[in-house]
Amino acid sequence: MIEVKNVTKKYGKAVAVEDISFTINDGEIVGLLGPNGAGKSTTMNILTGYIEQTSGEVTIEGYNTLKKPKKAKMQIGYMAEGVPLYTDLTVKEFVTYMAELKKVNRKERKEKVQKVIEQTGLKDVENKLTKNLSRGYKQRVSMAGALVGEPKILILDEPTVGLDPKQITEIRNLIKELGKTHTVILSSHILSEVSQICNKVIIINKGKIVAIDTPENLENKVSNNNCIYVTVEDTENKIDKIKDQIKEIKNIELVQENEDKTKQYLIEADKDIDLRKKIFSEFAKENITIFEMKKADTTLEDAFIKLIEGGNK
């Protein structure tokens, strides 16, 4: 469990993070979301004890980061931004060194190092120098360094930056897998990533928390209307009648006319009403053939932009 209470970080007069508070429970996968320079890394650095906050309090598993820094740090595995590695060590040596720094019991060290090397898929390259590895592997080494010593909490700063699509999927799956046994906090500005992996999102903008919620709730919050796209064959233009027949419809808008004489409409209704059933039956009565019908999803992306812009006004 992580508790952040009224944390502020100032650099002289510039404020990096202002009065943020949140709680992260055990087993949650939390995404820290925000545009560049919003204060994501600063927040993570404060959690990991790399920097100290100007005011406020952070408790990790009950240990205050300023009063009991060692105990607090023991709970955390941290994958820093830009994957810093000791380039003159091999993968195995690097992970072993991390294990030693985290005071992993000497007898169990070898075994635990092997375990994370296998877990992160580094077995084939364990004797290679870290400087000779590709970006994707470096990311994994960094992840292995964070994982060793079995910390309860994993803090990952932009874990998928600079990876190719295949590697991104691999790392995401790894994070999902780890999320089953760890509390995970990751920062990202890729929204789809956060909505895929996380079950809680903290949106930060200009050093302040804009929203804390589940990805689904955030999406729902910003979508005022329930929108449905229908593609129909409607040669006699009966669609105008429909509006009178279904009273819940607020608006029908022609989106486009296709070459095969079908038309796509956008049908808007109030937030809590799902019209799909009604549309289907009414359209059938009027002999309008439905080719396609889908609910227009508001994405986390919309939510994000709306929240950030809302904050800027």
Partner: protein
């Protein structure tokens, strides 16, 4: 702390740094040995260390300049500072591993002692006292080198600051006798006579502790201003 000592010590030999340091010292030491023994027909082991101290002034930065600066530049500092190891132990670990390299270098000089004892009878106690003084000098140099390395992320600048300070402290007594005891290298001068001067020893040790403390403070302070 043991982990840091071990890793730092190893990386002195993964990179050429350790070899360069020991090699350069021994080459220079051999030249001075040759001139002393063959040119001046002396079998005095200790006196060569006056020249040894001069060499040390110029090569200590090789050991110290990258220690903290490089960690900061490459970002690996984050790994250290977020691990459950205190800053004091990080600094001490780095200090001890650099000191170990100097000790290895000193052990190598026993080779010359061996050669001399074949031809004459060098005095073992005086030699040991000299080595002790030499180690104290090296420790104070290393501690300052660490301090210089902690204030910048450019290792070249750290190296230049270190050498500049050593040369400055060396020639300080030339400006006024008031500064006689501020010259680290001059404090060494009694040791080759077999005298352990308490005042000199205390100055070396306090200087070392002071520099290490300052390094720790610099690192700690950066946590709140970074």
């Amino acid at each position: 702390m043991w982990a840091i000592i071990k890793k730092e010590f190893k990386s002195y030999f993964f990179s050429p740094v350790g070899y360069v340091f020991i090699g350069l010292f021994l080459i220079m030491f051999s030249i001075f040995f040759y001139t002393d023994v063959f040119y001046y027909q002396s079998t005095n082991f200790e006196y060569i260390f006056y020249s040894g101290a001069t060499i040390l002034t110029f090569i200590i930065p090789i050991l110290t300049m990258r220690t903290l600066a490089e960690e900061r530049k490459s970002g690996t500092e984050q790994l250290l500072l977020t691990s459950p190891v205190s800053i004091t132990k990080i600094v001490l670990g780095k200090f001890i591993s650099a000191t170990l390299i100097v000790i290895i270098t000193e052990l190598c000089t026993f080779l010359y002692f061996g050669i001399l004892s074949y031809f004459g009878t060098p005095h073992i106690t005086t030699a040991l006292v000299t080595l002790l003084g030499f180690l104290l000098l090296a420790m104070s140099y290393i501690s300052f080198g660490l301090l210089a390395s902690s204030i910048t992320e450019n290792q070249i600048i750290a190296g230049v600051i270190t050498i500049a300070f050593f040369i400055f402290s060396w020639f300080l007594p030339n400006f006024s006798d008031v500064f006689a005891d501020f010259s680290l290298i001059n404090l060494f001068s009694n040791f080759p006579y077999g005298q352990i001067d308490i005042a000199d020893t205390v100055i070396y040790i306090t200087f070392t502790i002071m520099c290490l403390l300052l390094t720790i403070i610099v690192m700690q302070r950066r946590k709140s201003v970074r």
